[in-house]
Assembly symmetry: C2
Homo-oligomer: 216 residues x 2
DNA sequence: GTCTATAATTCGATAGAC
DNA sequence: GTCTATCGAATTATAGAC
């Protein structure tokens, strides 16, 4: 009388890609749930229900709730990693590359706004152990790609050697994070005209940072 | 049997400066309460109790809970405004001034960490009307001082004219905000060595931004 | 502090793919 | 037969009420 075990029972009116596996549906459902209610309020039972699988299936694919959470964010980070590789592999002048990076990065966090908010909420939490894994296991890979690019440009003599590549990278990221977090209110800062022009903002930041670190 | 009404009845074990007025004690108590539990969870009754005044006294000094909240943050902003004037009025090379500004600003938000966290929590809230008043009525004054300084340096021919002063100012602020928000986890970013060296971080940012916008 | 409800996690078994 | 995805039931941890 039971459904064949490899077929989803019911997916509670949520839509999922055709032919998606249980694991894929779980990642999607978890992403939605975590984004909507935050980590602690999210329940494994609800996620399993929405994904149309049994609760124990969750633990077959992910060792724990924490790991599921990391997997959700990791997926978004991987997607950005793809774009990042594309941006950094094109051989052009470093300013152009930094501009591209900055624009793609802001687009990415705005497209994944819910997850981005979730991550930021986590980082704000003082002393969060999850935040540490998040940075170390998930975000650091993409961060290294950017700072690695800057370091390489320094090796080629295009960039000052007395500035830590990681610091320059972090400065660029901070600009995007603030823009994303505070976009609605930035328009009320006197003299700031770019609140509704993300592309101009990313261009401006890349420009300042590049000229700030270029070899003169 | 009751205490004379113009003398604080009881201040619930909290300490306040000697001779402080009811209004002053209210600001202090409100600052603590808002910081601890956030805006919506804070209760006027509790704040009044802690300040040792009646609840109606609160509404004598502040028209609403919102206004009390803004007054709390405004006070911290005013204090920073004092320091800011001191930094900007010293006549020295702009790089030195920017470095000083950046260092004082980070010190200020770290000293007022609870309030800063409160403000940031507010800005994160999507579509918060309070966040708009906050930026327009409280934060914009100090922001204008910084961007005004940069604009002036541009007039003196020390700074590129093709960069909006407000954008450069915002970039500097974003660096401090991220550092403050994520300090605990930045140490786990590969290659970033300044997580426990705030002075080096502010110096580095000021340096990059200055060279990024200086007239070459 | 105990009691209880809720949520996280583990266990054992089944069904299908190769 | 082994391997993997699945489920239902049983077990533990946790948080709040009393």
């Amino acid at each position: 009388m039971t459904q064949p075990s490899h077929v989803p029972a019911s997916t509670q009116g949520q839509d999922f890609p055709d032919g998606s596996s249980g694991r894929e549906r779980l990642l999607i459902a978890a992403s939605r749930e975590f984004s909507e209610v935050g980590f602690s309020a999210a329940s494994i039972a609800t996620i399993a229900l929405k994904a149309g699988v049994g609760k124990s299936t969750v633990f077959h694919h992910f060792a724990s709730k924490d790991e599921l959470y990391l997997a959700v964010i990791n997926q978004a980070a991987q997607e950005f990693g793809q774009q990042l590789d594309a941006v950094l592999s094109v051989s052009q002048d470093p300013l152009q590359t930094l501009e591209n990076f900055q624009a793609r990065h802001l687009e990415h966090i705005e497209r994944n706004a819910e997850i981005a908010r979730l991550v930021l909420r986590e980082l704000l939490e003082p002393g969060s152990e999850r935040a540490v894994s998040l940075v170390r296991d998930v975000l650091s890979a993409n961060f290294s790609r950017l700072s690695g690019f800057i370091a390489e440009a320094a090796d080629r003599g295009l960039i000052r050697k007395d500035v830590e590549p990681a610091s320059a990278a972090l400065l660029m990221l901070s600009a995007n994070v603030l823009f994303f977090q505070a976009r609605q209110v930035l328009a009320h800062l006197p003299g700031f005209e770019l609140a509704d022009k993300p592309a101009d903002w990313t261009g401006c930041v890349a420009d300042i940072v590049f000229h700030g670190i270029e070899q003169s």
